[in-house]
């Protein structure tokens, strides 16, 4: 094969291999700062065991085992942590660091969650919410905790 043809095939292969990963995930919204026990990040394209330093993306779902716990910090400086037997979806997240505008919806399906709110809640009243199966929490600030009982 001519070297130019080979180079083209290589270039096209690179585009096809790299594009789906970059396109599907969108911007980084948070970083894992602490973990213990079993913690899984459920996302399109495969589940991963959460490690300190990993980045999280909109729509990621955090699942903790009976011994699991995780702490993450969002790009707006909101801090969130989750205890054992929990499931939390990072349902919606938008943040513009140039004017601090944004919106954040966390879907708390079961378990325990604590938060210290950051720039989104401070700059845009009503923009930060935690949804549970039975009620919706609106965050004015700053420190709070939510427990959702799982199926019995």
């Amino acid at each position: 094969m001519h070297w130019i043809a080979r180079a083209w095939i290589a270039a096209i292969a690179i585009v096809f291999v790299s594009a789906p990963c970059a396109g599907a995930q969108g911007p980084k919204i948070a970083q894992v700062k602490k973990t213990s026990g079993q913690v899984t990040i459920v996302r399109e394209g495969g589940n991963v065991a959460a490690k300190v330093g990993d980045f999280l993306y909109e729509k990621d779902v955090i699942q903790t085992g009976a011994d699991g716990a995780i702490g993450i910090t969002f790009t707006d400086n909101t801090v969130m942590s989750t205890g054992p037997n929990s499931e939390v979806s990072l349902e919606e997240y938008r943040f513009d660091s140039s004017n601090f505008n944004g919106a954040m919806l966390t879907d708390m399906r079961k378990g325990t969650l604590t938060m210290v709110s950051g720039d989104i809640a401070r700059s845009t009243p009503g923009a930060m919410k935690v949804k549970t199966p039975t009620a919706i929490l609106g965050v004015r600030g700053t420190r709070f905790a939510v427990q959702v009982e799982g199926e019995r």
């Binding site: 300190v52 210290v116 549970t132």
Partner: protein, 195 residues
Amino acid sequence: MHRIILALTLLLTLSACASRQALFTVLPNPDGSAGAVTVDDGQKSVVLDKPYAASEIVKGSAQPVAMDDAQVQQIFGSALAARPILPSHFRLYFNNDTDVMTPDSERLYKSVFDDIKQRPVYEVEVVGHTDTTGELKHNQELSLTRAGSIREKLIHDGLDPKSISIAGRGPLDLRVKTGDNVPEQLNRRVEITVR
């Protein structure tokens, strides 16, 4: 006998229904104050705005419930233990129309590294600002130059370039509100957030 079973079943069903579906509580700030949250159960919205003010959902309805530190530790202890170190903020000041820090700020700059040492992983945001003297375009460039010079210094002093992001806001986000063309030391600054 049937009646007893029926009564027992009814009692069990009732007590199962009466169990807590969700719990929301405000936690105190380190200074003892508290923020506020609202809880909306679809019928009504309640405001919780004191330390340990709490609401539980029973049969889909929000009702007040007593909460204290001991109960919070029992229910949320593992989650609280997993809470990351909170983000830290540093404000560095500059001499007029330069990217040279004031002596006090040089000392504060060094404490950024003490903060980072406590963190297993870190991200650093550097945002430059100016006062309102001079042209807007010049100031936007100057604010970015200030942020860039701090970024270079942080990298020179050992931080990972991949962990640092920078931005320049010119005179658009004044710390002290002034009119146009007012020299103001407190506005000539770089704000560093470590998280």
